[in-house]
Symmetry: C2
Amino acid sequence: MGKGEVEFIGEVTEVDGELSKIVLTEKACPGLLRIEEHSHLYILYWFHKRDTPKHRNVFKVIPRRHGETAYRGVFASHSPSRPNPIGLTLVELVSVEGCALTVKGLDAFEGSPVVDIKPRSSRDPS
Amino acid sequence: MGKGEVEFIGEVTEVDGELSKIVLTEKACPGLLRIEEHSHLYILYWFHKRDTPKHRNVFKVIPRRHGETAYRGVFASHSPSRPNPIGLTLVELVSVEGCALTVKGLDAFEGSPVVDIKPRSSRDPS
């Protein structure tokens, strides 16, 4: 199997309770045009603290935080330790200002690189 | 901004109408444990045909297939030409057999590398 390269498009610069601020690079910023037409967005971000061989070799986890006691596969879990350290959260778009978005419900740490932003598809449950 | 590396965990090996087959590598296969407990999964895959400097430098698109005539930012669209060629689809899990999943609703081409699989979160709309 091959490999691919991602170039980060921005960063989670502030987390304040349920609200998070994402700032895009100057290069990526034009990609935000008309994003305010969407109420909900998927944020794909990088679990930068888990981007190590050890964490990327986790294939089974026990999600104790969720009260579980038995193993499940990493692809049946939201564990941040996983082969490709990509997080995915569906958030509510609160506001857009220049290259910055404020979103509600993002569970990424401050400093997390952002990989992609996508609108919730009209085919998805709403 | 930095970069990250993804290692593909499998591939879309067959597409037959609405059904697609995903086969994971031997290494990644244990990550499927108990995946059958989830009815819906997010599939993150690689737009391998768009992994070129040209397609990765698209920041504004006109989604003509969707009847649009004006530009929107790539992050306000599902365009496969985007800075990081990652596709995201919410699919229904039909069956699991060894290292192979059959899913319904995946819009990836045959041969697309798979980057990650995640269960739909209980926090997401259902």
